[in-house]
Symmetry: C2
Subunit: 498 residues, 2 copies
């Protein structure tokens, strides 16, 4: 083995070990840790985090990477490790060392100020700290911007490399032109689809059984993973043989846990499917946020809300809950889980309106960074855009501009990756349908063939390919939002008989 | 703050963070981790362990400790931290650096060889590796022995400072003289106590509810801890605000989970009761193995198997399981949970015979280290001692000499601390009865006063006092096994009407 690489590998291994420890603490905190443990645990986690930071950011690693980046003797996996490790370091370095402490303290403080402002339903409480965070982010991005690069493009690059304002403007303009009018027509047909049976009493132990079963049915390997419970469902992993997802059960809601589980299972199948040769290195993870989201959304919506998916398994659900479902037909069930309900809250959005929520945030972030939009006018702008795109004005700021945690942590430029993920999934689906008979496989209960297709074309590569490259290699073309828009238009016009 | 101490504190903090991470991985491995995760996880844990090792064993720490040990300006907590940190380092150093890798590989290999030998019921498979481990331990202990110190005394010191062969010989001789003949008489009254109702069908969900309730009743603070499940019950912690215990539920055994929970709760109450000023330092843990065991055994046996304990709560158990217990009186129940059943397996032993199991191991270890007893003759010796002390000859080596994991990990000298813990608990109980009305408090449902007594006299000090010192400060005398022997003799003579 290359001597420089061998030295670097020591750091990569230590970072993997500390990273896994931090993931385990994160998982534990959301699923099990006793409520009064946090103060002390967060001190310990802080020490491990700074140890992680020092492991990857130091002079020896910098020197090694400098030499290894131009070293032609490296093997394929080694090259990928060098590239991804360097990217991780760059992304940790977006905050200049001299601002690191002040900014960390600010965002840490901001998260509780935001939480309080949301409870108090008072944007004014959050406004000053939000303004400060925005100033810092403008400053940081300004320092990094190369050759007249736009500030917001720098922020976008942090989360989804090479998807910029020009791409997103085109994407969202198409959405605006098609989905907004479509939604207007659908809203006129309120009550067209019945869904009350989804909100009867559903025994939680039985729900657990079904959610475990359905994720296993999808191909989640329980010898290499866990399904837990947490208030906000998420997926994490210690490495590819230990992938952990959570869901949350409501006693009066059948669909919430199921579609959370299916969504998280999409993430988890991605992690379990990454080639073992990348395991426990920075290459052994999803290619990007949007690529990860493309997998979770694909299973949640395109597959999980399709009629074909439920054909072989709906009876199983009826058997578990005959008291609620025995006179609900498969078609009525599928309609109900696809009903459109344009509400104010992003995390509860249906498939059709989800991207409109993101569009609101994208436009606001762009105005903040590119037009220096006044912070005190943001709530008004928020409500105006919600009315325009979703036809709904949030009753108050708690369920309006204060609903998401992201901005309090300085995560500007993150939201668009959710929307891109949806669009990626439709573009991949368009190609997949040409290669395999998706509906037939689903109706035969053979969903694992579909997972296999994604393993082959997406999952196995981990981060060794970029998101753009994966998309191009699977579909033979660059990112193209038209597939997503066509998919939504066709599906929802048919569903609502428009 | 003292400058040297401040520097040392950095290492102490980092060791606490890595230690907590290792504890969390340990907990997770026993309670939740998917079965195929171990290979990769153990690599990551290995990296964190060696990071822990390097954090506490290095030249700067050595130099700092040298100066701090003679620094008179330190405050009380700082002094205790320095002493305990130095002790931890010494105990990690019992293996000389040049043998470390070879010995670690040997014990790691030995554990699976032992497991296989146990399954195959073939001591010969384990014998060579056991012999090698013993040779290493003789060598290590020989290097450390000071001024003609006996080799086995060095090993005993590793687990329970200052309890040596002379102390243990006296202790076990007294046991031999009193408990062995007492057991003989009890065995003649086989069938005197009925206990079949304990082994009917007990719904596990209901058992869980009761075990959660009873540990909370004992004073376990669930805002600072967790009760989980694992095959082998244990207690661990990340720090004093996050103490975790486990139990294991059998569908056909009521007492197993309850007494495991009560036992682990004894350990957990100790951890939760240590003064906050020692938290996240090497002082913030139990004073010694035996002191810890004194707390768990005290609650499991002296309290948990007493009639007074069950007076206010037995009805609750009957209410949960009326089908099995409604015609079992409190007295019959208490008799059943105290019945003597001299079997071959230590971990299933009753209160009376437990120490006899330890006595067998003590005598064998002494012969190994002090008389160079031939390894191939150990199974024979084991069976002979079981017959002599417990009146039972193990049917085979799997449930004989191969039953415990300890020796495969090189843990010689550890077993006696279990027996010492029992004896400590009786000595403390003897004093406690003079200070508070234990039975009255129990009968009034006021067990928390008893926990409070232990908090005040034992728990709060953590490791700032030695085991000997705690025992002396609580009871006003040195270790004295007579209280334990008197307690057992009186309790079991009465129970069996001898």
């Amino acid at each position: 083995m290359n001597q420089n690489y061998e030295k670097l590998k020591q750091y990569v291994d230590k970072a993997a070990a500390l990273g896994a420890a931090l993931s385990l603490f994160g998982w534990d905190n959301e699923t099990l840790a006793p409520k009064n443990s946090m103060e002390k645990t967060s001190k310990l986690v802080g020490i491990l985090s700074s140890e992680y930071f020092n492991t990857i950011i130091n002079d020896e690693v910098e020197q090694l990477l400098k030499e290894l980046k131009v070293d032609n003797t490296l093997e394929e996996v080694e090259k990928a490790v060098v590239r991804c490790f360097a990217e991780d370091i760059d992304s940790l370095k977006t905050i200049p060392p001299q601002d690191f402490v002040a900014y960390s303290e600010l965002t840490s403080k901001a998260s509780s100020i935001w939480a309080n402002a949301r409870v108090e339903n008072n944007f004014k409480l959050f406004e000053p700290v939000l303004a400060e965070i925005i100033e810092y982010n403008k400053k940081f991005a300004g320092t990094q911007a190369k050759d007249g690069q736009k500030i917001y493009d720098v922020k976008l690059d942090e989360y989804e490399k090479s998807f910029h304002i020009t791409d997103l403007d085109e994407f969202f303009n198409q959405l605006k032109d098609t989905i907004v009018p479509l939604l207007k027509k659908i809203k006129e047909k309120e009550g067209f689809i019945k869904s009350d049976f989804l909100f009867k009493h559903y025994d939680i132990e039985k729900q657990k059984k079904f959610n475990h079963w359905i994720t296993e049915y999808m191909g989640f390997d329980y010898s290499r993973g866990v399904l837990g419970e947490s208030e906000h469902p998420f997926t994490t992993n210690l490495h590819r043989e230990d992938v952990r997802m959570t869901t949350y059960y409501f006693e009066n809601n059948l669909e919430s846990a199921i579609f959370s589980s299916i969504h998280e299972c999409g993430h988890a199948l991605y992690e379990q499917g990454i080639d073992d040769k990348y395991a426990m290195t920075p290459v052994g993870q999803g290619a990007s946020c949007a690529t990860h989201e493309s997998q979770s959304r694909f299973f949640e919506n395109i597959i999980g809300r399709s009629r074909s998916f439920w054909v072989p398994i709906y009876d199983k659900l009826v058997e578990l809950f005959p008291e609620n479902l025995s006179d609900v037909t498969l078609d009525d069930f599928v309609k109900a889980i696809n009903r459109v309900h344009a509400d104010e809250i992003r995390t509860e959005a249906d498939e059709l309106t989800y991207c409109l929520h993101i569009m609101v945030r994208y436009e606001i972030e762009k105005k903040i960074f590119e037009e220096n939009y006044p912070i005190d006018k943001l709530p008004q702008l928020w409500n105006q855009l919600y009315e325009e795109y979703l036809g709904v004005i949030p009753a108050n700021d708690s369920i309006g501009i204060l609903q998401d945690v992201h901005w309090s942590g300085g995560m500007f430029g993150y939201f668009p990756s959710y929307a891109l993920g949806n669009a990626f999934s439709a573009q991949i689906y368009n190609q997949m349908k040409k290669d395999i008979n998706v509906n037939k496989l689903l109706e035969e209960g053979n969903i694992k063939e579909i997972v296999q297709y994604l393993n082959t074309h997406v999952h196995q590569y981990g981060r060794s390919k970029t998101a753009k490259q994966i998309l191009f290699d699977v579909t033979g073309e660059e990112f193209n939002p038209k597939y997503y828009i066509e998919y939504l238009t066709e599906k929802y016009s048919t569903l609502y008989e428009l």
